[in-house]
């Protein structure tokens, strides 16, 4: 079976301004959401306490709210259903440093009258740990980007590196915008998902860039947009197929993976879609807008080759001289 059978290159570059505009609009919306609505940080990053409780039968939410509000630490705490009718999650900004103040013990005391239940999960993160985790997460992201920049510069050229990182920021930013839009709670797992998108989007972009690099070597034309059109079209089938298989898997994770993994799967779902879009329509035009020129590149490569040959020659002469 075949979905994209190559016949002739699509004229993508001619429409690149249109795709650029779509991206800019999406980016602006996302940035607006992130700046003005802001992330819904979960306890991992904001600090606080999360308690997941399962009742035998439906959970009496209003009764629970009333019962826990007696305690100062749970004033204004959020009580929401979690997945099913009999499960709830209680969230408060409060966290205790005293070892003896066990949250489960407290719940058993406060919720005695509300029915039979089991405390299935407690996440309590002190403010200090929360900010530490946030810092570490950010450091990880920045370091990963620097590492990638260095590697791509080394293997390709600096404009390729900049273009791939821009495409990657594009994807991560839009994914973050969607997280804000759908009010997904940001915990450590969401950070992991964002970092996966980073890797995934890069993966896609590199495959296309590799083809462009090959095109520069094998095609006769010096017109970048022709090379890009040809290369993107050649890899189109692969890009969509891989995205499709990944999409399948993430979708099953989203549908069957359970409530805990929901936010994670959602973020990946968005990431796969945006990542595919950007590697086809965004990354390569960026290369052109950054002023990449094929003839300059060929010149440089030729020079590099010449220098290397000269070096080898010198070495050979030197070694012979020694002998």
């Amino acid at each position: 079976m075949e979905i994209f059978k190559y016949t002739k290159p699509l004229s993508l570059m001619a429409k690149s301004k249109r795709f650029g505009a779509v991206s800019v609009v999406l980016l602006l919306i996302s940035l607006g959401l992130i700046l003005f609505k802001g992330f819904n940080f979960g306890v991992d990053f904001a600090g606080g306490t999360l308690i997941q409780i399962k009742y035998e039968g439906a959970a009496p939410i209003s009764k629970i709210r009333e019962a826990i509000s007696v305690d100062k630490a749970y004033e204004g705490a959020g009580v929401t259903r979690f997945g099913s009718d009999d499960e709830i999650v209680i969230k408060t900004k409060f966290s205790s440093q005293v070892l003896g103040d066990d949250v489960g013990k407290k719940m058993h005391m406060l919720l005695k009258e509300t029915g039979k239940f089991e405390v299935r999960r407690v996440d309590m993160i002190g403010a200090k740990v929360g900010s530490e985790l946030r810092e570490k997460g950010l450091t990880a992201m920045i370091l990963a980007i620097i590492g990638i920049l260095a590697y791509v510069s080394f293997r390709f050229e600096w404009r390729f590196a900049i273009a791939s990182v821009l495409a990657l920021l594009h994807d991560v930013t839009i994914a973050m915008g969607m997280i804000v839009l759908f009010n997904v709670e940001v915990n450590l797992d969401i950070l992991a998902a964002l970092l996966t998108i980073l890797g995934y989007s890069l993966n896609d972009t590199i495959i296309v860039f590799d083809r462009i690099r090959e095109g520069i070597r094998t095609m006769k034309t010096s017109d970048l947009s022709t090379v890009i059109d040809e290369s993107v079209t050649r890899t189109l089938s692969r890009t969509t197929l891989t995205s499709l298989t990944t999409f399948f898997v993430v979708l099953t994770l989203f549908v069957f993976g359970g409530e805990i993994i929901h936010g994670f799967a959602f973020t990946l779902l968005v990431g796969v879609l945006v990542g595919t879009y950007s590697s086809i329509f965004v990354a390569s035009p960026l290369l052109m807008w950054l002023g990449f020129s094929i003839s300059d590149y060929r010149l440089k490569e030729a020079e590099k080759l010449k220098r290397q040959k000269e070096k080898e020659k010198m070495r050979a002469m030197y070694e012979q001289g020694m002998l």
Binding site: G147, R155, L188, T245, V249
Partner: protein, 526 residues
Amino acid sequence: MKRLNYRVVLLALALIFGIVFSIPSLTQSEQGRKITLGLDLQGGLHMLLGIKSNVAIDSKIKSIAATVKYLFDDEEIIFDDLQVNDDQRITFELLDKDDFLRAKTLLSKEIEGITLEVKDGYFTLFMTEEERIRTQKNAISQAIDTIRNRLNAFGLAEPTVAKQGQDNILVEVPGVKTQSDKDRLKKLIERAAHLQLLAVDEDRIARVATMSEEEAKSYGDVILPDVYTGEKYLLRAIPVLDGSMLTDAKVGFDEQNQPVINFTLNGQGAKIFGDFTGKYVGKRMAVVLDDKVYSAPVINERIGGGRVQISGNFEFSEAQDLAIALRSGALLAPVTIESERFIGPSLGAESIKASSLALLLGFILVVVFMVFYYGFAGVIANIALIGNLFLILAVMSLAGATLTLPGMAGIVLTVGMAVDANVIINERIRELLYQGRSIAKSIEEGYNNAFTAIFDANVTTLIAAIVLVVYGTGAIKGFAITMGIGILASMLTAIVGTHGLYEYLLPKMDKKRLKFWFGIQVEGGK
């Protein structure tokens, strides 16, 4: 002509290796190395503890002050106004100028890690910065040892106690199932277990009800409450002996069949205890634990042999935990809780079920799709994919790695991404076939053309994974480790392995049946 090439052999070896070493994990057998399930999958308690190390510094300063007093008394140096100020420095005054030099050399010789300032006969003693840091570090490592001893004695399976970062302690205890288990465990960790035997100040105790703390202090006494009744006791502040001289503590029963704690003192402690009880027959002595009086029996006779009993209205389990705490030693500084994650056993089981289902379904979808789209080339890719899965499991088993829920997600994701290499290769092969090359040439060239793309893409993803392993904590780390292993494994299975299979099958491949082998139809060719 069939030929076994090294690539096929490598793939076969990888498959055998993968299957053999993942069997212990898959069957959860007793023998062999296997993957441990993370706390989020098997349930348990995870805590990050902090330590109030300034308390350790405070008590260190106080003990330095006690040493100063002891040294001066011993050397008959007359001093006055010995004080600990702001828990920072010790000040005192020397009355005789001739003693200055003697005092200085004595102090700097006998006490480590202090600096000394003198002004008009007033001495000020500071702890050096290194000594402070050393004291803090000591407090942490001592707390780690103590907590580890206590948890090991508690009897739950394989607790982890480790230092994390500069001044935190990571405690992980799998198999904590019930609320009462959790309560007992936390109490056990929290307990300072500071045991002291103090003499009752019989001359003044009649007035204790109206006495202020300051007044008690001026007599060299402290006021401490009874653990059950809250009744106040006036006790001599300097202990007869403390828990550091204890060698063993066990739960026993008294005449009323009440649980009690019997503890044994070391030689020095037994001697001090014997001398003391011999000297003070008819007086009372209080057994004090964590600044609470547990009992204050009258001394009937000299007690030799160094055996002492703590009685109280203990529950059996309470007495048992107390004995564990006493045996494992006191905490130099109190611990605090910085973060806690508790997962009940039922939730863990549910998570395993849900993510396994997702893994299985995702896997089936991908496998079916690959065959449908690529024909036999898809089958080859699927063999590599299965090999990849087993390899991940085997490597994790051998490394004794922990599988967490995000780790499961990492594996699921790897399934999606591992086929990518084969998609790239297959597309390249198809391209060449369309150009009319022979099958052998198409395969050879296809692999060559695809290699740089796959390699560069994998290396960049690997860079991201490594950064995550180094900088990530907990959940993120687990995810990145499985992803990293998955990428490396896919290089072997998806690139080398499938190439070998193609070479092996090449003699059977026929250009007339491209539909079967590669899922395409080529008309005529160029």
